[in-house]
Amino acid sequence: MKINHNRPTVAVHKFTSCDGCQLAILNLGEALLTLTELVEIKQFAEAGILDEHATVDIAFIEGSISTPREMAQVKKIREQSHYLIAMGACATSGGIQALRNMSDGQAWIDAIYASPQHIESLTTSTPLSDHVRIDLELWGCPVSSHQITATVRALLFGVLPKIEHDKVCMACKRSQAVCVMVSRGEPCMGPVTNTGCGALCPQFGRGCYACYGPAENPNPNALASRFEGLGMSASEISRNFLFINNNAPVFQTIGQKYSERRDE
């Protein structure tokens, strides 16, 4: 399949998610109208455009895989798409709903549903990359409009966009925000978290909660030790890592370590 650089075709699909990342597109304002001129949108149910089986140049998927139907669907979308892009925390790490993976997922479903045998839900919530090859991952809960437009623009030029993997701390320093951990002893996940949000939380005087996922070469053990030094319990430390991107391996390993310590 050759990508049509003049007016590429685009599909936006939704799996298990909150719709928030699709809003990165629907919130573009006037740029949304420009976007629909630059690319031909073939599938985007929330915007009223339906052609689920269209072969496209660029497919964005929001959401994690949590049902047998989604498992089959993602494979089909892979076959019919030149570039497959995972959009947001659910698609890149399984999302906050992946917390069930570490518990007894079936027990959770059994506790909630009177007739669990009718629930077509897996006991796990997993990222797209567990199921198919992904060309690009856009992390963030939610992704920003800038991430989407920058990606489409780069692909229009025939290249994949360059994604920054610095830590939030870098963006925080550049924004001249005061470090909440140094100045106030407030726990902050910035030292292990991917940049991309613009260090919003520290600029609002609160700690980062890692919604953009693990940064490149993070040192979660050192950060967890620092948290201990701040007087946080093992349970609190565990909850800090096992949050939005709990299923990202770097966070999961350390989060589970502290979670087990709590049980001792």
Binding site: H118, E120, F204, R239
Partner: protein, 433 residues
């Protein structure tokens, strides 16, 4: 007698937030089965809220719905503050109202322009409609953008905003930032008025349906936040927020896969039209004047007027944000101290789509032991199905399938169902064959 059976199946319902589908069976000229099915996989929020600290809740519940995160935050913070006897300052209460107006403007403008209006002109989508109505669509997207800017003022970003905590905000906006935004909001007031006037010119099918409207009610404010409110209905109910579960029951209907919430056994309407029907007098004079010049009387029994109510609330929200920001002063602290108390916390606010009710049980250390969330879409399920039966029969079941399908979709979209949130409540029972 005719044995003819028509099955209309709309596999994916476009232009609703989240994914649902509708099955209708017509036998011998009557609707014998009508199912609004939901495709949304459960995410089990109530389950993983257990074991979390109450401080984490404003950052967890935003993830339930990308379109109304403010509503989820607000129902949660008011719930905990009520349980803890936290006395927030008038500044906090006022600024939360501004913040919430931002979400009403954003969500309603999005729904009117990107999701609902194309139905009234026969377009498949908003981009298609924009070719013929460029100015109207552009105006709508700008209003949506302004709503988002208000949310960002307090929350840094409009989806999953990060500025809210139990007891107030993490940061108070700078006076200069507020002044710049206030200027833009004032400048947009004529646009919001024009939007309302435009929407009232839509061609509404003549419908009169007998339904009960339900909303929060406050003695002197149009209902948004929780303080000082009770749940009221057009049938005369007055229900305290912590008595919700005694009157509102969710139950499974055999032919439906979605839970239906009933008020004392009856379907009811929540959301913009219900709010307007019950609180018309509390609107700003500018909104009432504009509505007074049109041919629609409120309270209205035509569900299609939901879109008019939505446009009226965009105008109201903008006027209200201007009013509350006009004498903005930055306070010494954007939040008050909170001392947790174990017990059951009840919260309810008016999400863009209607009542959003929360209950949390927490222990001595502030950890949540149980949670229940009742979103507006589950409350409107029964009403949507009732409307579908009435509307399709009024349209005439002899119409061809494409016409019936188009009409049914329009009826559903008119309620702005947010299906991604409707599947998050604890007791959803799905049965599939």
């Amino acid at each position: 007698m005719s044995e003819k059976t028509i099955n209309i199946n709309v596999p994916v319902l476009a232009r609703v937030e989240g994914e649902g589908a509708l099955d209708i069976r017509i036998e011998n000229g009557r609707i014998t089965q009508l199912k609004l099915r939901i495709f949304e996989p459960p995410r089990l929020f109530e389950k993983f809220l257990e074991g979390r600290h109450y401080n984490e809740v404003p950052d967890i519940v935003t993830r339930i719905c990308g379109i109304c995160p403010v509503a989820y935050q607000m129902s949660a913070v008011y719930a905990f503050e009520a349980l803890f006897n936290t006395q927030i300052t008038p500044w906090i209460d006022m600024m939360r109202r501004v913040y919430y107006c931002g979400e009403w403007i954003e969500s309603h403008a999005l729904h009117i322009h990107l999701l609902a209006a194309p139905d009234f002109f026969g377009f498949e989508s908003a981009p298609a409609m924009a070719k013929q109505f460029p100015d109207e669509v552009r105006r709508g997207l700008q209003l949506q953008g302004l709503g988002n800017e208000i949310i960002k003022l307090f929350g840094a970003r409009s989806v999953n905003p990060i500025g809210v905590k139990i007891g107030g905000f993490h940061k108070a906006p700078e006076a200069e930032t507020v002044a710049v935004l206030l200027h833009k909001l004032r400048a947009a007031l004529p646009d919001a008025k024009a939007l309302l006037e435009w929407v009232t010119t839509f061609d509404f099918p003549e419908r009169s349906q007998d339904f009960v409207s339900v909303s929060l009610q406050h003695p002197f404010e149009y209902p948004i936040n929780m303080r000082g409110t009770a749940i009221r209905s057009s049938a005369g109910h007055k229900i305290a927020i912590n008595e919700f579960e005694a009157h509102f029951k969710e139950s499974q209907v055999p032919h439906s896969t979605a839970l239906h919430c009933h008020l004392d056994g009856e379907p009811y309407l929540a959301g913009p039209l219900a709010r307007l029907n019950l609180n018309y007098n509390l609107l700003h004079d500018e909104v009432k004047e504009t509505l007074g010049n049109i041919d629609i009387a409120f309270p209205s029994s035509n569900p299609y007027h939901n879109i008019v109510a939505r446009a009226a609330e965009v105008y109201y929200g903008l006027l209200e944000a201007v009013r509350l920001l006009e004498d903005y002063r930055r306070p010494a602290s954007p939040a008050v101290e909170v001392t947790p108390i174990a017990g059951t916390a009840y919260g309810c606010t008016e999400a863009p789509r209607g009542l959003l009710w929360h209950r949390y049980e927490i222990d001595d250390s502030g950890i949540i032991t149980a949670a229940r969330l009742v979103p507006p879409t589950s409350q409107n399920q029964a009403r949507i199905e009732a409307d579908l039966r009435l509307s399709l029969e009024a349209l005439g079941l002899d119409n061809d399938e494409a016409t019936l399908r188009q009409h049914a979709e329009q009826v559903i979209r008119n309620y702005d169902p947010c299906i991604s949130c409707a599947t998050h409540f604890l007791d959803l029972r799905v049965s599939r064959r």
